[in-house]
Symmetry: C2
Subunit: 271 residues, 2 copies
């Protein structure tokens, strides 16, 4: 006689289904039995069946669709973002001819997709600096900032995407009025080229990486599932004079993003 299983029945059901998914018995995209059906099969109440299914959703294994059913999720392909190489690439691109700069942007560089497969959106606005951003930019709270919001989606899929918000000091950006108009986006050559038109050269960048649950707004834009988290990156760019010139917050769905940072170490002194 085997030992009694003392775990809650909904956990047992969840694990049974998880094993079926792991074994491939329930393949990606497959439709699970409906809730009333599972309740009948197992002799459990629909409430307990729903608890089991919620567990599977928290594990990221299934997706429930209202009116349709519950499906096994495809294993997400993670987009690899190599930010160190990317930032250098973006900077170097500035001195290429416009035809070349026009051909691709940062997202294409990251994802391997082509320009025509992506839908690019930009929206500018003017805001007063809150304490957080003001501290990073070393300006007084309330300073006028140019707030630039970007989001990119793949045309083919309804797939999620990325969203980011960038802040520049308005007075600085206004030295070139073209930088204040979001109808000039996508700007060939990106932010580095935009900054170069007002004599700014970025010297170093810092990425601060954090994982957290998404805000309600991010749930809507990125269409994350319940229980999903996001990777949030705060990128701070400092120019050759040591002045912070841009603060940008980017948010990615954590389950389809990986970040790679390559680090070169200095050699030991010869002894």
């Amino acid at each position: 006689m085997t030992e009694r299983d003392w775990r809650p029945r909904y956990v047992q059901l969840a694990e049974e289904l998880r094993e079926k998914i792991d074994r491939g018995e329930l393949a990606a995209g497959a439709l699970l039995p409906s809730e009333p059906e599972l309740a009948a099969q197992t002799g459990m109440s629909r409430t307990s069946v729903r608890n089991a299914l919620r567990q599977l959703r928290e594990w990221g294994l299934v997706r429930a669709e209202q009116g349709r059913g519950t499906y096994v999720r495809a294993r997400k392909v993670r987009v690899t973002r190599r930010n160190i190489e990317r930032y250098q690439w973006e900077k170097d691109r500035v001195h290429q001819p416009e035809e070349v700069r026009r051909q691709s942007g940062g997202t294409e560089h990251d994802t391997g997709l082509e320009v025509h497969q992506l839908q690019f959106h930009a929206k500018y606005s003017t805001v007063d600096a809150n304490e957080d951003i003001a501290n990073v930019l070393s300006v007084p709270v309330g300073t006028k900032l140019l707030r630039r919001m970007y989001w990119t989606s793949a045309k083919s899929e309804d797939a999620p995407l990325s969203m980011s918000v960038s802040y520049l000091v308005h007075e600085v950006a206004a030295q070139n009025p073209a930088l204040l108009d979001d109808s000039n986006e996508p700007w060939p050559g990106g932010t580095h080229h935009q900054l170069s038109t007002i004599g700014v050269e970025v010297d170093h960048v810092s990425d601060r990486v954090v994982a957290r649950p998404p805000s309600p707004n991010e749930v809507e834009v990125l269409r994350t599932e319940a229980g999903d988290w996001v990777l949030a990156i705060r990128k701070v760019s400092t120019d050759v004079n040591g002045r912070v010139v841009e603060v940008a917050d980017a948010v990615y769905p954590a389950d389809r993003t990986e970040l790679v940072y390559g680090i070169q170490l200095k050699p030991w002194d010869k002894k």
Copy 2:
């Protein structure tokens, strides 16, 4: 007359409570009204109240304790890990005298805690390379590896910690038998010094950062809450001859960890 709120009642309750927490009306550590009490106050069933409380747990705002009540979680202090600086620091430390090397390790450098406040654990074993690790190390599947597991905890708190697993090719490590014995841990000067005893100098390192739900084992070791995620970092070290010499997987509780990578850009060519 204001517009009717069409959202589910449990969402409305969750947001009301969230606002109270945000405003500080319910401070960190405060006890929420019990479930029957909330049900009575709002006229909702206990099931709906529980749905609201689950939402708050998914947001990471409260923690339920069986038999006690539901408490507002303290905002976690995030430990900042500056891996680029850390790796360089670890490498440079090798050529310092042993008394200095003995005084602190990587975790103290990261967290600002002192040696005597930390509990350090190391356990070595020998394993056969699986496909994943074999690929990274460029060795055949099944090659003998030295598997080194580390975990560190703060003595004061029952606080979570970090855990990591490092893999070296056994044949390589065995060139210095002292490297095979975990009773020599913590080794003054860390892995870089260990490798230096067999003539290996690390040239560059790559961090691959991913956020994901914790494995059952990680839940136990890191004592994460339901719905929490972890940050998993795969660090690959390559020596000056271009050979991968170490693969290490580190796991951190995502809600109390931030990673910072500072990136120096090359200057534009003078024109």
